[in-house]
Symmetry: C2
């Protein structure tokens, strides 16, 4: 750690601890998780609180994330014009399939669902919106990963493949084959990846540079998806083709 501002890095890490923790945390607990002295953590919290990034509960003295983060997060969404751009297309797809429709983007070696339209069915799956997860872990993410450089893919698959259900692929070699298939077909179908009993169909969005920054996916219970599988693939590919074109993508270079 030579080039970075250590206290800033600590403050970022502190905030991120809250992502996988209960709503409120105390100084001592944060101090342990950060491996930093209590005094230092306290000063961090005081500073972050003065800027609205952290809030202290006066009743139990514990700390939680502040509302300034809500503003900043919302600004991130507004900045990302693809979300507004794709909205009407997602809505069309949602009306046709009546299933959960998601817009997924790449960020570093992770994927994030940045928009979704819920299924109209009483039985349905929920996408973990705005949550970060690995690029190999869902169909939506794979549809993005498959169309990146071999070099980048290798880098992503070099990490241990974390699985969320017993059905997931854990072998880097098998994943490579899978991605090859996605490139061949132009879309991805898989079941039981993130939730057992769920099937996802996903297709990439190409931008003007031929890059794939995002994907659109349809997700639903497997038994409801299977009968319509081919139809939903057609609809999905139609939608992603339209979005890609409007982003300036020209097929075949």
């Amino acid at each position: 750690m030579d080039n970075y501002l250590s206290s800033v890095k600590n403050s970022c890490k502190l905030l991120k601890i809250f992502l996988n923790a209960p709503k409120e945390l105390g100084v001592s607990e944060l101090s342990r998780k950060l491996e930093l002295s209590k005094g230092a953590v306290h000063k961090l919290l005081m500073t972050l609180e003065s800027e609205g990034f952290i809030k202290q509960n006066p009743l139990n003295k514990q700390y939680s994330l502040g509302y300034t983060l809500l503003e900043l997060g919302n600004k991130v969404l507004k900045n990302h014009n693809l979300v507004d751009f794709a909205k009407p297309y997602l809505q069309r797809l949602s009306e046709k399939t009546k299933e959960l429709v998601c817009l997924c983007i790449i960020d570093g070696k992770d994927a994030i669902y940045v928009d979704k339209i819920d299924s109209k069915h009483p039985i349905r799956f929920n996408a973990e919106e705005y949550r970060r997860f690995p690029l190999y872990a869902t169909s939506a993410a794979r549809a993005i990963l498959a169309f990146h450089d071999r070099e980048f893919i290798d880098e992503v698959l070099a990490d241990d493949l974390i699985t969320f259900t017993p059905y997931s692929i854990t072998e880097s070699r098998m994943m490579q084959d899978r991605l090859e298939e996605i490139r061949k077909n132009g879309y991805e179908i898989s079941s039981n990846l993130r939730n057992v009993g769920a099937t996802g169909i996903a297709a990439p969005i190409f931008d003007a540079y031929g890059k794939v920054p995002a994907s659109v996916s349809v997700i639903g219970p497997t038994d409801r998806m299977t009968p319509y599988q081919e139809q939903w693939v057609r609809e999905l590919l139609q939608i992603t083709r339209e979005i890609s074109q409007e982003l300036g993508y020209r097929e075949g270079r």
Copy 2:
């Protein structure tokens, strides 16, 4: 600035600059706005980028807010159980009035809309969701402010009252009278506060401690609201009474 970590404070200020700025900003511009050397700002950005709080556009070298902020902002929402709690009540109110229904909370000397259900009418107003604004500036906020300590109110009104339309109250004295009226009636109606031609009706939510942490409001075009004014007030007060009770509030102590 003695008790605070200066670099952390700077990093917070840096992030907040983006709230009222274009999507992307350069080092030099940020350096000017922060009144910090370019070198220092660059190191700040490098650190924030390494944690996903900032993203650099490789094409023009400019910086924008990172997706980690999206995750954190979403976590803030999930933490705030009032949002989930109030959702069904807001929906009921939305179905009855067909107008924009908002849930507004207090944060320091500001108010924030944390949830909304859009109007079904083709002509409608938009609430600036997740945006921070002064406690005197909208009917929803005033319905909260009115039920706070005289001391706190004085503190809020001591600042210069920023106005968004020519019709707003700018005199602290007049605002005090207005708040007195809200306390007497138990709700607030006002027009042309934030948008010309809009009327808002708002009522406070009381918690188990008798405090007012939030309000519910109905907002629509004045000419469409006026005929139903009394009816919407009744519906609104019914809803806020139910929410308050479920939060543990007992009327009359």
